[in-house]
């Protein structure tokens, strides 16, 4: 990872710390993410995942350290790259009284998308939004809302896609459907995806790298297969429990903690 040339890194965090009222939400965090990769950011509640993603988006300022996204320091000139990235998060929503089509049209215009109508139509077809495209966003089911949020996140065909719990609260069928769309998107455009998730099956299916966080620090960082082998487990859920319950320090060789 460290040998990769700078231009091939979509995200670089260098010694990043975030304090809230003197308490560290993230502490001396350093990692980089290669362009075109799909990386999972895992950890228990309060591990610092959302704060980390917030800092990568430039919505949260680090107390110390630097966050570079697509070569740009987010604390200095985030607007230089915002048009090349996008995100989906359960912490945000779209205006409820506007229809799905109106919302997507507005975001397409904000992102400077050419041929707005065509792009909205493409997304409606790709993500099967046609049945509710002209329905107010506030009247959608959880699954429909997630598809619309994903459509908004893909509206500008971002090089970097940040997803915070992309399939949370979805039934298994819809969640699987969303994952398939994400895989297709990544294959088609070679986009970089960073996702926070509590769904280990999702992580195993989508991700070629897993970063485990605990108490604001990275405690394990490797491919899913390597982590399974290292922890002697059959699935990532057990690895997750080992890491969260402090097994990592005993069982993980030091070089795997980056």
């Amino acid at each position: 990872m460290g040998a990769a040339p700078a231009h091939s890194k979509a995200i670089v965090l260098s010694d990043v710390t975030k304090l809230y009222k003197g308490k560290a939400a993230v502490s001396h965090l350093s990692f980089s993410i290669a362009q075109g990769s799909v990386t999972a950011l895992l950890g228990g509640n309060g591990a610092g995942k959302t704060t980390t993603i917030g800092m990568i988006m430039g919505l949260i300022l680090p107390t110390a350290g630097t966050v570079r996204v697509l070569g740009v320091d987010m604390a200095v000139d985030r607007h230089a790259v915002l048009g090349r990235m996008n995100f989906e998060s359960p912490y945000v929503d779209m205006p409820h009284r506007l229809t799905v089509r109106q919302n997507l049209t507005i975001f397409a215009k904000l992102y400077g998308v050419a041929r707005v109508k065509n792009r909205v139509a493409e997304l409606a077809e790709d993500l099967a939004l046609g049945d509710f495209l002209d329905r107010p966003s506030g009247q959608l089911s959880a699954g429909q809302k997630t598809r619309v949020a994903l459509a908004k996140a893909l509206i500008n065909e971002p090089e970097l896609l940040l997803l915070d719990e992309p399939t949370a609260s979805l039934d298994p069928d819809t969640a699987d459907w969303i994952r398939a769309r994400l895989e297709t998107y990544r294959r088609r455009l070679g986009a970089t995806i960073l996702l926070a998730s509590h769904n280990m099956a999702e992580v195993e299916r989508l991700c070629d790298r897993v970063i485990f966080m605990n108490a604001g620090s990275v405690v394990a960082d490797d491919t899913p297969q390597a982590l399974l082998a290292r922890f002697g487990r059959d699935d990532l859920e057990d690895v997750f429990l080992d890491v969260i319950r402090g097994q990592a320090a005993r069982s993980v060789p030091k070089e795997s903690v980056r």
Binding site: K18, Y20, A25, T50, T51, G54, M57, G58, L59, I60, L61, H79, L82, G83, N86, F87, S89, Y91, V92, D93, M94, P95, H96, F107, L110, Y111, G112, K152
Partner: protein, 275 residues
């Protein structure tokens, strides 16, 4: 039947206490909510106190007539000031209510572009609100606001600039403090009501308060309105002074908005815009 069912059963003071405690916790966690409780009675008392001073104790025999003659014009100009700010703040609040701020802040939309859109919406909302009202004022009371001519343009520009400056401050506080600061959108402008002498001349204020009033651009507008309606005199110099102060206020509001945005990023509140 279901109404009776809802009314029946045992009444628990403990549950009432739990709900009261819930609202007290909310009040305690939000200084704007507490300030709002004290604020309105204070503003009402001061405003009507000065009106009473003006009408009852003025040595000028024409005082009641002066007050009455300019009242409807003052009410309408005050509404332009208040609605101008509220239109700005409400458009911003819509994004808070729908939890859309994070989406917008993450998009390529720049803060100045956002502010420009809020200003445009403030003008549109004001037009929808004020134009029919001015027509009704002609119909019912024979008062034609448009008859003020070019003076109205000067009054309007100054009132809107003040409204937007306050709107910018409110938007910044909403970003930083979340919807706990929502009450400010409705109430902050009213702190200007007694000080800007909407319904009475500056001379009614205590001498120590008059310099404060003259630091506020709307004071020149309301004084200008009375001068125009009663003395048929328009002071372009006063309007220029008001415009100069407004330029400083607007720049200050913009800087405050940008600083509070940075503060919100430090606090991490852009992704948590609830109560």
């Amino acid at each position: 039947m279901s109404v009776i069912t809802e009314l029946g059963g045992s009444f628990s003071p403990g549950r009432v206490g739990a709900m009261v405690l819930r609202y007290i916790y909310l009040l305690r966690s939000s200084w704007p909510r507490v300030a709002d409780l004290i604020y309105w009675p204070t503003v009402q008392m001061i405003t009507w106190g000065f009106i009473q001073t003006f009408v009852s104790h003025s040595s000028a025999p024409s005082a009641p007539m002066v007050a009455a003659g300019s009242l409807i014009g003052a009410v309408m100009l005050w509404d332009i000031l208040f609605r101008g700010q509220l239109g700005f703040s409400m458009s911003f609040l819509e994004e808070m209510y729908s939890r859309n701020i994070g989406n917008l802040m993450m998009s390529p939309l720049r803060p100045l572009e956002f502010v420009a859109a809020l200003i445009a919406m403030s003008l549109l909302r004001l037009a929808i609100a004020i134009v029919p009202v001015t027509a009704l004022a002609v119909l019912f009371f024979g008062f034609n606001l448009w008859g003020l001519g070019l003076a109205l343009a000067a009054f309007f520009i100054n009132l809107m600039l003040t409204g937007w400056a306050v709107g910018l401050l409110v938007a910044g506080l909403l970003l930083r403090n979340g919807l706990g600061a929502e009450a400010l959108a409705w109430s902050l402008m009213f702190i200007l009501m007694p000080l800007t002498c909407v319904y009475y001349p500056v001379s009614v204020l205590p001498s120590w308060l008059q310099p404060v009033a003259l630091l506020l651009p709307p004071t020149y507008v309301f004084e200008g309105l009375r001068a125009l309606l009663i003395e048929h005199r328009f002071s372009a110099g006063d309007m220029a002074i008001a415009f100069g102060i407004n330029a400083v206020l607007f720049a200050g509001g913009l800087i405050a908005f940008l600083m509070l945005l940075e503060s919100a990023k430090r606090l991490g509140s852009l992704l948590q815009t609830g109560e």
